[in-house]
Protein backbone atom coordinates (compact mmCIF):
# COMPACT_ATOMS: atom_id res chain seq x y z
CA UNK A 1 0.00 0.00 0.00
CA UNK A 2 2.74 2.42 0.98
CA UNK A 3 4.64 1.76 -2.21
CA UNK A 4 1.45 2.27 -4.18
CA UNK A 5 0.98 5.68 -2.63
CA UNK A 6 4.62 6.50 -3.20
CA UNK A 7 4.21 5.59 -6.83
CA UNK A 8 0.98 7.54 -7.17
CA UNK A 9 2.55 10.74 -5.92
CA UNK A 10 6.03 10.44 -7.32
CA UNK A 11 5.45 9.08 -10.79
CA UNK A 12 5.49 11.85 -13.39
CA UNK A 13 2.81 12.42 -15.98
CA UNK A 14 3.90 10.24 -18.87
CA UNK A 15 1.40 11.36 -21.48
CA UNK A 16 3.05 12.42 -24.72
CA UNK A 17 1.92 15.31 -26.80
CA UNK A 18 0.31 14.38 -30.06
CA UNK A 19 2.41 15.00 -33.14
CA UNK A 20 1.43 14.20 -36.66
CA UNK A 21 4.02 12.54 -38.88
CA UNK A 22 4.19 11.92 -42.59
CA UNK A 23 3.81 8.17 -42.56
CA UNK A 24 0.34 8.32 -41.04
CA UNK A 25 -2.33 7.96 -43.69
CA UNK A 26 -5.87 8.96 -43.05
CA UNK A 27 -8.60 9.33 -45.57
CA UNK A 28 -11.57 11.54 -44.90
CA UNK A 29 -14.68 10.62 -46.81
CA UNK A 30 -16.91 13.58 -47.41
CA UNK A 31 -20.24 12.71 -45.97
CA UNK A 32 -23.03 15.13 -45.44
CA UNK A 33 -22.92 15.67 -41.73
CA UNK A 34 -24.48 18.89 -40.73
CA UNK A 35 -21.75 21.40 -39.89
CA UNK A 36 -23.66 22.43 -36.79
CA UNK A 37 -23.80 18.83 -35.62
CA UNK A 38 -20.09 18.49 -36.15
CA UNK A 39 -19.56 21.51 -33.98
CA UNK A 40 -21.96 20.22 -31.41
CA UNK A 41 -19.53 17.50 -30.37
CA UNK A 42 -17.24 20.27 -29.23
CA UNK A 43 -14.64 18.78 -27.02
CA UNK A 44 -16.72 15.78 -26.10
CA UNK A 45 -16.76 12.58 -28.08
CA UNK A 46 -17.97 9.26 -26.77
CA UNK A 47 -16.76 6.26 -28.68
CA UNK A 48 -18.23 2.81 -29.06
CA UNK A 49 -15.82 0.25 -30.40
CA UNK A 50 -17.24 -2.46 -32.67
CA UNK A 51 -15.18 -5.44 -33.65
CA UNK A 52 -16.80 -6.57 -36.89
CA UNK A 53 -14.46 -9.51 -37.40
CA UNK A 54 -11.00 -8.19 -36.69
CA UNK A 55 -7.94 -10.30 -35.82
CA UNK A 56 -7.75 -8.16 -32.64
CA UNK A 57 -4.54 -6.50 -33.72
CA UNK A 58 -6.39 -3.22 -34.02
CA UNK A 59 -8.04 -3.82 -30.64
CA UNK A 60 -4.66 -3.97 -28.97
CA UNK A 61 -3.78 -0.62 -30.46
CA UNK A 62 -7.14 0.85 -29.55
CA UNK A 63 -6.71 -0.50 -26.04
CA UNK A 64 -3.42 1.39 -25.87
CA UNK A 65 -5.35 4.64 -26.35
CA UNK A 66 -6.56 4.35 -22.78
CA UNK A 67 -3.14 4.00 -21.22
CA UNK A 68 -1.34 6.93 -19.61
CA UNK A 69 1.01 7.21 -22.55
CA UNK A 70 -1.58 8.08 -25.16
CA UNK A 71 -4.34 9.14 -22.77
CA UNK A 72 -7.29 9.55 -25.06
CA UNK A 73 -9.31 11.21 -22.33
CA UNK A 74 -7.34 14.47 -22.54
CA UNK A 75 -9.16 15.24 -25.80
CA UNK A 76 -12.53 14.77 -24.15
CA UNK A 77 -12.87 11.36 -25.70
CA UNK A 78 -14.09 8.40 -23.82
CA UNK A 79 -15.00 4.80 -24.56
CA UNK A 80 -18.54 4.00 -23.54
CA UNK A 81 -20.38 0.78 -22.88
CA UNK A 82 -23.48 1.36 -24.94
CA UNK A 83 -24.08 2.74 -28.45
CA UNK A 84 -26.86 4.84 -26.89
CA UNK A 85 -24.15 6.89 -25.21
CA UNK A 86 -21.90 7.03 -28.25
CA UNK A 87 -21.22 9.69 -30.88
CA UNK A 88 -18.67 7.74 -32.79
CA UNK A 89 -18.41 4.13 -33.85
CA UNK A 90 -14.88 2.84 -34.13
CA UNK A 91 -15.17 -0.20 -36.39
CA UNK A 92 -12.37 -2.67 -36.94
CA UNK A 93 -11.94 -5.69 -39.15
CA UNK A 94 -13.54 -6.89 -42.34
CA UNK A 95 -17.27 -7.24 -41.75
CA UNK A 96 -18.04 -10.91 -41.34
CA UNK A 97 -21.40 -12.48 -42.08
CA UNK A 98 -22.17 -12.92 -38.41
CA UNK A 99 -21.33 -9.34 -37.55
CA UNK A 100 -22.96 -7.55 -40.47
CA UNK A 101 -26.37 -7.44 -38.84
CA UNK A 102 -25.16 -6.57 -35.33
CA UNK A 103 -23.02 -3.80 -36.84
CA UNK A 104 -26.05 -2.34 -38.57
CA UNK A 105 -28.07 -2.61 -35.38
CA UNK A 106 -25.35 -0.90 -33.42
CA UNK A 107 -25.33 1.94 -35.90
CA UNK A 108 -29.11 2.25 -35.73
CA UNK A 109 -29.01 2.19 -31.94
CA UNK A 110 -26.68 5.18 -31.89
CA UNK A 111 -28.40 8.54 -31.63
CA UNK A 112 -27.73 11.11 -34.32
CA UNK A 113 -25.52 12.99 -35.04
CA UNK A 114 -22.90 10.26 -35.25
CA UNK A 115 -19.70 9.50 -37.09
CA UNK A 116 -18.11 6.24 -38.15
CA UNK A 117 -14.37 5.70 -38.23
CA UNK A 118 -13.06 2.57 -39.90
CA UNK A 119 -9.81 1.52 -38.27
CA UNK A 120 -7.22 -0.61 -40.05
CA UNK A 121 -6.67 -1.91 -43.52
CA UNK A 122 -9.25 -4.69 -43.03
CA UNK A 123 -11.95 -2.18 -42.26
CA UNK A 124 -10.99 -0.25 -45.37
CA UNK A 125 -10.79 -3.05 -47.96
CA UNK A 126 -10.88 -6.35 -46.06
CA UNK A 127 -7.10 -6.57 -46.13
CA UNK A 128 -5.79 -10.11 -46.36
CA UNK A 129 -9.28 -11.45 -45.74
CA UNK A 130 -10.68 -9.98 -48.95
CA UNK A 131 -12.73 -12.53 -50.85
CA UNK A 132 -13.01 -14.87 -47.90
CA UNK A 133 -16.22 -16.91 -47.72
CA UNK A 134 -17.13 -15.48 -44.32
CA UNK A 135 -16.52 -11.88 -45.25
CA UNK A 136 -19.29 -9.59 -46.41
CA UNK A 137 -17.10 -6.66 -47.32
CA UNK A 138 -15.45 -3.55 -45.92
CA UNK A 139 -17.19 -1.39 -43.35
CA UNK A 140 -18.24 1.03 -46.03
CA UNK A 141 -20.41 -1.71 -47.53
CA UNK A 142 -22.58 -1.65 -44.43
CA UNK A 143 -22.27 1.82 -42.94
CA UNK A 144 -21.48 5.32 -44.19
CA UNK A 145 -17.86 5.79 -43.15
CA UNK A 146 -16.47 9.24 -42.26
CA UNK A 147 -12.81 8.48 -41.90
CA UNK A 148 -10.48 5.60 -42.54
CA UNK A 149 -7.27 5.02 -40.61
CA UNK A 150 -4.82 2.88 -42.56
CA UNK A 151 -2.34 0.48 -41.11
CA UNK A 152 -2.14 -3.13 -40.14
CA UNK A 153 -2.52 -2.41 -37.36
CA UNK A 154 -2.48 1.40 -37.25
CA UNK A 155 -0.58 2.83 -34.33
CA UNK A 156 -2.55 4.50 -31.54
CA UNK A 157 -1.35 7.92 -32.60
CA UNK A 158 -2.81 7.37 -36.04
CA UNK A 159 -6.15 6.30 -34.62
CA UNK A 160 -6.27 9.39 -32.43
CA UNK A 161 -5.41 11.64 -35.35
CA UNK A 162 -7.99 9.86 -37.46
CA UNK A 163 -10.78 10.52 -35.01
CA UNK A 164 -9.73 14.12 -34.54
CA UNK A 165 -9.53 14.56 -38.29
CA UNK A 166 -12.97 13.14 -38.81
CA UNK A 167 -14.27 15.58 -36.23
CA UNK A 168 -12.59 18.61 -37.61
CA UNK A 169 -12.97 17.61 -41.26
CA UNK A 170 -9.28 18.18 -41.61
CA UNK A 171 -7.70 16.16 -44.42
Amino acid sequence: MASLFEYMFKAPVVTETLKSSDDIQIQIIARQIDERARKSFGRSLHIREVDAGSCNGCELEIGALNNPYYDLERFGMHFVASPRHADCLLVTGPVTRNMADPLKRTYDATPAPKIVVAVGDCAHDCGVFAGGYGVVGPVSAILPVDAVVYGCPPEPRAILLGILAALEKRP
Binding site: M8, T15, R74
Partner: protein
Amino acid sequence: MSMFSEIAIALLQLLMVMFGSPLLVGVIRKAKARLQGRRGASIFQPYADIRKLLLKEVVVSENTSWIFRFTPYLLATTMLLSALIVPVLTIRTPLGFMGNIIALMYLFLLGTFFLALAGLDAGSAFGGMGSSREVAIAALAEPTVLIAIFGIALRAGTTSLDGIITRFAAEPLLMLNAGHLLAFIAFFIVALAENGRLPVDNPATHLELTMIHEAMVLEYSGRLLALVEWAAGMKLFLFLTLLSNLFFPWGVALANTPMTLLTAFLALAVKLLLFAGAIALVETSVAKLRLFRVPELLAGSFTVALLAVVTSFFMK
Protein backbone atom coordinates in the same frame (compact mmCIF):
# COMPACT_ATOMS: atom_id res chain seq x y z
CA MET B 1 -35.00 39.35 5.65
CA SER B 2 -36.69 40.75 2.63
CA MET B 3 -38.53 38.66 0.13
CA PHE B 4 -35.97 39.56 -2.49
CA SER B 5 -32.94 38.36 -0.60
CA GLU B 6 -34.72 35.13 0.36
CA ILE B 7 -35.31 34.36 -3.27
CA ALA B 8 -31.77 35.36 -4.08
CA ILE B 9 -30.34 32.97 -1.51
CA ALA B 10 -32.53 30.07 -2.64
CA LEU B 11 -31.44 30.74 -6.21
CA LEU B 12 -27.81 31.02 -5.19
CA GLN B 13 -27.88 27.60 -3.54
CA LEU B 14 -29.70 26.13 -6.49
CA LEU B 15 -27.19 27.55 -8.94
CA MET B 16 -24.28 26.37 -6.83
CA VAL B 17 -25.52 22.78 -7.02
CA MET B 18 -26.64 23.01 -10.63
CA PHE B 19 -23.40 24.39 -11.97
CA GLY B 20 -20.98 23.24 -9.31
CA SER B 21 -21.73 19.55 -9.69
CA PRO B 22 -20.22 19.01 -13.17
CA LEU B 23 -17.13 20.86 -12.01
CA LEU B 24 -16.84 18.59 -8.98
CA VAL B 25 -17.05 15.53 -11.21
CA GLY B 26 -14.45 17.05 -13.52
CA VAL B 27 -12.10 17.76 -10.63
CA ILE B 28 -12.37 14.20 -9.33
CA ARG B 29 -11.63 12.81 -12.79
CA LYS B 30 -8.69 15.15 -13.23
CA ALA B 31 -7.26 14.20 -9.86
CA LYS B 32 -7.64 10.53 -10.69
CA ALA B 33 -5.92 11.02 -14.03
CA ARG B 34 -3.01 12.77 -12.36
CA LEU B 35 -2.64 10.07 -9.75
CA GLN B 36 -2.54 7.54 -12.58
CA GLY B 37 0.18 9.49 -14.34
CA ARG B 38 -2.14 10.72 -17.09
CA ARG B 39 -2.85 14.21 -18.19
CA GLY B 40 -6.58 13.64 -18.17
CA ALA B 41 -9.46 15.69 -19.48
CA SER B 42 -10.00 19.28 -18.55
CA ILE B 43 -11.92 19.86 -15.32
CA PHE B 44 -14.63 21.47 -17.43
CA GLN B 45 -15.09 18.33 -19.51
CA PRO B 46 -18.44 17.35 -17.86
CA TYR B 47 -19.98 20.62 -19.08
CA ALA B 48 -18.93 19.80 -22.62
CA ASP B 49 -20.37 16.30 -22.24
CA ILE B 50 -23.71 17.59 -21.01
CA ARG B 51 -23.89 20.25 -23.71
CA LYS B 52 -23.18 17.67 -26.38
CA LEU B 53 -25.77 15.24 -25.01
CA LEU B 54 -28.40 17.96 -25.02
CA LEU B 55 -27.81 18.48 -28.72
CA LYS B 56 -28.21 14.84 -29.64
CA GLU B 57 -31.40 13.03 -30.50
CA VAL B 58 -32.95 10.56 -28.08
CA VAL B 59 -33.24 6.90 -28.98
CA VAL B 60 -35.82 5.14 -26.85
CA SER B 61 -36.46 1.43 -26.70
CA GLU B 62 -39.79 0.35 -28.13
CA ASN B 63 -40.51 -1.70 -25.01
CA THR B 64 -40.45 1.20 -22.62
CA SER B 65 -43.34 3.05 -21.05
CA TRP B 66 -43.62 6.61 -19.79
CA ILE B 67 -41.65 5.63 -16.67
CA PHE B 68 -38.47 5.51 -18.74
CA ARG B 69 -38.96 8.99 -20.15
CA PHE B 70 -40.19 10.44 -16.86
CA THR B 71 -37.39 9.14 -14.64
CA PRO B 72 -34.56 11.49 -15.75
CA TYR B 73 -36.76 14.49 -15.06
CA LEU B 74 -37.75 13.13 -11.67
CA LEU B 75 -34.13 12.35 -10.78
CA ALA B 76 -33.01 15.86 -11.58
CA THR B 77 -36.04 17.23 -9.77
CA THR B 78 -35.32 15.39 -6.53
CA MET B 79 -31.76 16.66 -6.61
CA LEU B 80 -32.78 20.27 -7.32
CA LEU B 81 -35.32 20.04 -4.54
CA SER B 82 -32.65 18.73 -2.20
CA ALA B 83 -30.45 21.65 -3.17
CA LEU B 84 -33.06 23.92 -1.61
CA ILE B 85 -33.10 21.91 1.63
CA VAL B 86 -29.41 21.18 2.17
CA PRO B 87 -27.49 24.05 3.79
CA VAL B 88 -24.98 24.43 1.00
CA LEU B 89 -23.82 27.92 1.91
CA THR B 90 -26.02 29.05 4.72
CA ILE B 91 -28.14 27.51 7.44
CA ARG B 92 -30.79 30.11 6.78
CA THR B 93 -32.15 28.44 3.68
CA PRO B 94 -35.49 30.02 2.87
CA LEU B 95 -37.02 26.68 1.86
CA GLY B 96 -35.21 24.57 4.44
CA PHE B 97 -38.48 24.09 6.29
CA MET B 98 -39.50 21.54 3.66
CA GLY B 99 -37.76 18.71 5.43
CA ASN B 100 -35.14 17.50 7.85
CA ILE B 101 -32.31 15.10 7.11
CA ILE B 102 -34.61 12.06 7.15
CA ALA B 103 -36.96 13.61 4.63
CA LEU B 104 -33.89 14.38 2.53
CA MET B 105 -32.74 10.76 2.58
CA TYR B 106 -36.19 9.61 1.51
CA LEU B 107 -36.12 12.13 -1.30
CA PHE B 108 -32.93 10.50 -2.55
CA LEU B 109 -34.62 7.12 -2.20
CA LEU B 110 -37.47 8.34 -4.41
CA GLY B 111 -34.94 8.94 -7.17
CA THR B 112 -33.42 5.50 -6.65
CA PHE B 113 -36.87 3.91 -6.86
CA PHE B 114 -37.63 5.44 -10.23
CA LEU B 115 -34.17 4.85 -11.64
CA ALA B 116 -34.45 1.18 -10.74
CA LEU B 117 -37.84 1.02 -12.45
CA ALA B 118 -36.39 2.69 -15.53
CA GLY B 119 -33.66 0.07 -15.56
CA LEU B 120 -36.29 -2.63 -15.76
CA ASP B 121 -38.44 -0.81 -18.28
CA ALA B 122 -36.54 -1.58 -21.46
CA GLY B 123 -36.58 -5.30 -20.79
CA SER B 124 -32.86 -5.79 -21.27
CA ALA B 125 -31.00 -8.17 -19.02
CA PHE B 126 -28.39 -5.54 -18.13
CA GLY B 127 -30.93 -3.00 -16.96
CA GLY B 128 -32.67 -5.50 -14.71
CA MET B 129 -29.37 -6.61 -13.28
CA GLY B 130 -28.39 -3.03 -12.54
CA SER B 131 -31.73 -2.30 -10.87
CA SER B 132 -31.56 -5.37 -8.73
CA ARG B 133 -28.06 -4.53 -7.54
CA GLU B 134 -28.76 -0.86 -7.07
CA VAL B 135 -31.77 -1.44 -4.82
CA ALA B 136 -29.86 -4.15 -2.94
CA ILE B 137 -27.08 -1.73 -2.12
CA ALA B 138 -29.48 1.11 -1.36
CA ALA B 139 -31.43 -1.13 1.00
CA LEU B 140 -28.35 -2.37 2.80
CA ALA B 141 -26.95 1.16 3.10
CA GLU B 142 -30.14 2.51 4.64
CA PRO B 143 -29.55 1.25 8.23
CA THR B 144 -26.11 2.88 8.25
CA VAL B 145 -27.57 6.16 7.05
CA LEU B 146 -30.21 6.27 9.75
CA ILE B 147 -27.93 5.09 12.53
CA ALA B 148 -25.33 7.66 11.55
CA ILE B 149 -28.11 10.26 11.63
CA PHE B 150 -29.08 8.93 15.06
CA GLY B 151 -25.49 9.40 16.16
CA ILE B 152 -25.53 13.01 15.02
CA ALA B 153 -28.99 13.73 16.42
CA LEU B 154 -27.90 12.36 19.78
CA ARG B 155 -25.20 14.93 20.19
CA ALA B 156 -26.84 17.81 18.37
CA GLY B 157 -30.26 17.18 19.91
CA THR B 158 -32.01 17.69 16.60
CA THR B 159 -32.44 16.13 13.16
CA SER B 160 -32.90 19.42 11.38
CA LEU B 161 -30.00 20.22 9.11
CA ASP B 162 -29.51 23.80 10.18
CA GLY B 163 -30.00 22.86 13.84
CA ILE B 164 -27.17 20.35 13.67
CA ILE B 165 -24.81 22.88 12.08
CA THR B 166 -25.76 25.63 14.51
CA ARG B 167 -25.16 23.37 17.47
CA PHE B 168 -21.82 22.04 16.25
CA ALA B 169 -20.65 25.48 15.22
CA ALA B 170 -21.56 26.85 18.62
CA GLU B 171 -19.95 24.03 20.56
CA PRO B 172 -17.02 22.66 18.56
CA LEU B 173 -16.09 20.50 21.54
CA LEU B 174 -19.08 18.33 20.72
CA MET B 175 -17.24 17.19 17.64
CA LEU B 176 -14.13 16.27 19.54
CA ASN B 177 -15.09 12.74 20.37
CA ALA B 178 -14.87 9.30 18.94
CA GLY B 179 -18.57 9.18 18.11
CA HIS B 180 -18.26 12.07 15.70
CA LEU B 181 -15.38 10.49 13.85
CA LEU B 182 -17.06 7.09 13.68
CA ALA B 183 -20.31 8.58 12.40
CA PHE B 184 -18.29 10.45 9.79
CA ILE B 185 -16.54 7.30 8.60
CA ALA B 186 -19.82 5.42 8.37
CA PHE B 187 -21.47 8.23 6.45
CA PHE B 188 -18.51 8.53 4.10
CA ILE B 189 -18.68 4.84 3.20
CA VAL B 190 -22.40 5.16 2.61
CA ALA B 191 -21.81 8.20 0.42
CA LEU B 192 -19.42 6.16 -1.71
CA ALA B 193 -21.94 3.31 -1.96
CA GLU B 194 -24.93 5.52 -2.72
CA ASN B 195 -23.11 7.41 -5.43
CA GLY B 196 -21.78 4.35 -7.17
CA ARG B 197 -18.12 5.05 -6.46
CA LEU B 198 -15.32 2.58 -5.87
CA PRO B 199 -15.00 0.20 -4.07
CA VAL B 200 -18.73 -0.47 -4.49
CA ASP B 201 -19.26 0.39 -8.13
CA ASN B 202 -16.88 1.58 -10.81
CA PRO B 203 -18.23 4.69 -12.54
CA ALA B 204 -15.82 4.17 -15.47
CA THR B 205 -16.47 0.50 -16.18
CA HIS B 206 -17.24 -0.88 -19.62
CA LEU B 207 -17.98 -4.41 -18.59
CA GLU B 208 -21.73 -4.84 -18.28
CA LEU B 209 -21.54 -7.73 -15.84
CA THR B 210 -19.71 -5.69 -13.24
CA MET B 211 -21.96 -2.66 -13.55
CA ILE B 212 -24.46 -1.37 -11.06
CA HIS B 213 -25.42 2.23 -11.73
CA GLU B 214 -24.13 2.24 -15.31
CA ALA B 215 -26.13 -0.87 -16.20
CA MET B 216 -29.39 0.89 -15.38
CA VAL B 217 -28.61 3.83 -17.62
CA LEU B 218 -27.28 1.84 -20.60
CA GLU B 219 -30.49 2.57 -22.51
CA TYR B 220 -30.47 6.32 -22.02
CA SER B 221 -29.31 8.73 -24.69
CA GLY B 222 -29.36 12.38 -25.63
CA ARG B 223 -31.02 14.82 -23.26
CA LEU B 224 -32.35 12.03 -21.04
CA LEU B 225 -28.83 10.77 -20.46
CA ALA B 226 -27.69 14.33 -19.85
CA LEU B 227 -30.28 14.65 -17.09
CA VAL B 228 -29.32 11.32 -15.53
CA GLU B 229 -25.61 12.16 -15.52
CA TRP B 230 -26.25 15.65 -14.25
CA ALA B 231 -28.46 14.30 -11.47
CA ALA B 232 -25.78 11.77 -10.51
CA GLY B 233 -23.29 14.62 -10.30
CA MET B 234 -25.67 16.66 -8.17
CA LYS B 235 -26.22 13.73 -5.86
CA LEU B 236 -22.48 13.41 -5.32
CA PHE B 237 -22.22 17.15 -4.79
CA LEU B 238 -25.03 17.10 -2.22
CA PHE B 239 -23.64 14.10 -0.34
CA LEU B 240 -20.19 15.65 -0.14
CA THR B 241 -21.71 18.98 0.91
CA LEU B 242 -23.61 17.18 3.67
CA LEU B 243 -20.41 15.46 4.77
CA SER B 244 -18.53 18.77 4.72
CA ASN B 245 -21.08 20.90 6.42
CA LEU B 246 -22.52 18.50 8.98
CA PHE B 247 -19.25 17.08 10.19
CA PHE B 248 -17.01 20.10 9.64
CA PRO B 249 -19.36 23.06 9.94
CA TRP B 250 -16.67 25.73 9.80
CA GLY B 251 -17.44 28.48 7.38
CA VAL B 252 -21.12 27.79 6.86
CA ALA B 253 -22.96 31.09 7.05
CA LEU B 254 -24.97 31.38 10.25
CA ALA B 255 -26.46 34.67 9.17
CA ASN B 256 -26.85 35.90 5.64
CA THR B 257 -24.59 38.80 4.79
CA PRO B 258 -22.56 39.09 1.59
CA MET B 259 -19.38 38.59 3.62
CA THR B 260 -20.49 35.39 5.37
CA LEU B 261 -21.84 33.98 2.14
CA LEU B 262 -18.53 34.62 0.43
CA THR B 263 -16.66 32.95 3.30
CA ALA B 264 -19.07 30.04 3.12
CA PHE B 265 -18.50 29.74 -0.59
CA LEU B 266 -14.73 29.65 -0.19
CA ALA B 267 -14.89 27.26 2.75
CA LEU B 268 -17.16 24.91 0.84
CA ALA B 269 -14.89 25.05 -2.19
CA VAL B 270 -11.90 24.07 -0.05
CA LYS B 271 -13.78 21.28 1.71
CA LEU B 272 -15.17 19.86 -1.52
CA LEU B 273 -11.72 20.00 -3.07
CA LEU B 274 -10.36 17.96 -0.19
CA PHE B 275 -13.18 15.44 -0.54
CA ALA B 276 -12.63 15.23 -4.28
CA GLY B 277 -8.98 14.50 -3.61
CA ALA B 278 -9.90 11.88 -1.04
CA ILE B 279 -12.28 10.16 -3.43
CA ALA B 280 -9.69 10.20 -6.21
CA LEU B 281 -7.17 8.71 -3.81
CA VAL B 282 -9.56 5.96 -2.72
CA GLU B 283 -10.53 5.18 -6.28
CA THR B 284 -6.95 4.95 -7.44
CA SER B 285 -5.75 2.81 -4.57
CA VAL B 286 -8.52 0.24 -4.07
CA ALA B 287 -10.02 -2.26 -6.45
CA LYS B 288 -13.73 -2.73 -6.90
CA LEU B 289 -15.18 -5.20 -4.44
CA ARG B 290 -16.89 -8.30 -5.67
CA LEU B 291 -20.62 -7.71 -5.56
CA PHE B 292 -21.15 -10.13 -2.71
CA ARG B 293 -18.38 -8.54 -0.69
CA VAL B 294 -20.23 -5.22 -0.74
CA PRO B 295 -22.70 -6.30 1.97
CA GLU B 296 -19.70 -6.96 4.20
CA LEU B 297 -18.44 -3.45 3.61
CA LEU B 298 -21.87 -2.04 4.39
CA ALA B 299 -22.21 -4.25 7.45
CA GLY B 300 -18.86 -2.88 8.53
CA SER B 301 -20.02 0.69 8.06
CA PHE B 302 -23.18 -0.17 9.99
CA THR B 303 -21.11 -1.47 12.89
CA VAL B 304 -19.06 1.70 12.85
CA ALA B 305 -22.23 3.80 12.92
CA LEU B 306 -23.64 1.75 15.77
CA LEU B 307 -20.39 2.20 17.66
CA ALA B 308 -20.75 5.93 17.12
CA VAL B 309 -24.17 5.81 18.76
CA VAL B 310 -23.04 3.59 21.60
CA THR B 311 -20.02 5.74 22.43
CA SER B 312 -22.32 8.75 22.49
CA PHE B 313 -24.55 7.00 25.00
CA PHE B 314 -21.73 6.14 27.31
CA MET B 315 -19.96 9.46 27.05
CA LYS B 316 -23.07 11.45 27.77
